[in-house]
Assembly symmetry: C2
DNA sequence: TTGTTTTACTTGAAGCTTCAAGTAAAACAA
DNA sequence: TTGTTTTACTTGAAGCTTCAAGTAAAACAA
C-alpha cells in the first residue's frame, strides 16, 4: 500500500474550517427559521427555489437538483409542506411520470414574510465576517468545489 | 419595517456555493466511509479527534466542542461507538460530573485503517479542485466565518 | 408490435439528530 | 452550614434522512 499524502497546514485549516462551518451554519440558520416559522433551512430552501421559478412550480427532479437533495428526501418533505398548505403536487401534462411541485399562495406569503429575517441571519452569521474581496474569493473557490462534486450543478448553469 | 438588504451577485454566489457544498460534500464523504467501514463522517470525526488527543481520551464536552456537536448528539453517538467496541466511557477522577470518552485499541485500529481512504476522498472531492492559493484563501476566509459563528471555537485556538 | 431498460418518482422501515426533561455533582451565595 | 444556581452530562420521544424496494410510464431495441 502506498503512503497516503497527509494534509499540510493550510489544507488542514481549510478542511477543518469547512467542516466546522458545515455543522454550525445550518444549525444557526435552522434555529432562526424554527423560531420564526417552525420550519427547517431545507424546508425554506424548497419554498425559496419554487418562489423563484417561473410560474412558481418545478418538476420534483429539478427541485431536487436545485436543493441538492435526493428525490426521496424531497418527496418526504414535499408531503410535509403539502400538509401545511404551502405546496401542491400536480400532474405534468406531457409526461405522466413527472410530478410538479407548485407553491401555493399561502406558501408564497410564508416565504415573503420569512425572507427578510433569513437574509439578515445569513448576513449576520457569515457575510458580515467578510470583506467584499473575501466574498468574491469564496464565490470563486466555492464554485470550483461545487464543480468538482457535481460538474453540472445548477448553480454553475447561471454563469 | 425597514427594507431588507438583498444579496448582491457575489454574495448570492458565495452563499449558494456554500449551501451546495454543505449538502454535497458530507454526503459524498459519508458514502465513502459507509462503504469502507459502515460509519458516518461524524462517527469518523469523533474517532479522529480522540486519536489526536493526548492519551486518546477527552471529556464529553471537549469532544463535543471539537466535533461542533451538541452534547446530546455526542452522547447518543458515543453510546453507539461503545457498542461497537471503539470507545469506552470512564469516570473523571477530579470531577464526578465529567464523563471521559476513551478510544480503545480496536477504535484506534479502525481509524488507522480508514484514514488513508478518507484523506484521499477529501483530496479528490475538494482539495484537488483548488490551487495552493485557493486553499490558503479558503483557510483564511473559512476561519473568519467560524470566528463569527463561535468566537472561541477550538480550531481558532491552534493559531 | 412486444419485450427490456431507463426515468421519475413514492413508500416504509431503520437509523440519526434534535428537543425537552431529567439527574447528580460542583460552585456560589448568605 | 444550607439553599440556590450552574455545569456536565443522559435519556426517551418526535421528527428527519437515508436506504432498499417498489410502481408506473416513457424510451429503446429487435
Amino acid at each position: 500500500m502506498t503512503e497516503p499524502r497527509w494534509l499540510n497546514a493550510d489544507e488542514r485549516r481549510a478542511w477543518l474550517a469547512l467542516l466546522s462551518i458545515n455543522t454550525l451554519l445550518p444549525a444557526a440558520l435552522d434555529t432562526q427559521l424554527q423560531a420564526a416559522g417552525k420550519l427547517s433551512l431545507f424546508d425554506y430552501n424548497v419554498l425559496a427555489m419554487l418562489s423563484e421559478a417561473e410560474g412558481r412550480f418545478l418538476p420534483m427532479s429539478e427541485l431536487a437538483a436545485r436543493t441538492s437533495a435526493s428525490l426521496s428526501r424531497l418527496s418526504h418533505v414535499v408531503t410535509k409542506l403539502q400538509r401545511r398548505g404551502w405546496v401542491e403536487r400536480e400532474a405534468h401534462p406531457g409526461d405522466a411520470r413527472v410530478t410538479v411541485a407548485h407553491l401555493t399562495e399561502s406558501g408564497m406569503d410564508t416565504i415573503v414574510s420569512l425572507a427578510p429575517g433569513h437574509v439578515d441571519a445569513v448576513r449576520a452569521l457569515m457575510l458580515d465576517a467578510m470583506t467584499d474581496d473575501d466574498v468574491a474569493d469564496l464565490a470563486r473557490i466555492g464554485e470550483k468545489i461545487v464543480a468538482r462534486l457535481d460538474d453540472d450543478h445548477w448553480i454553475l448553469r447561471e454563469r
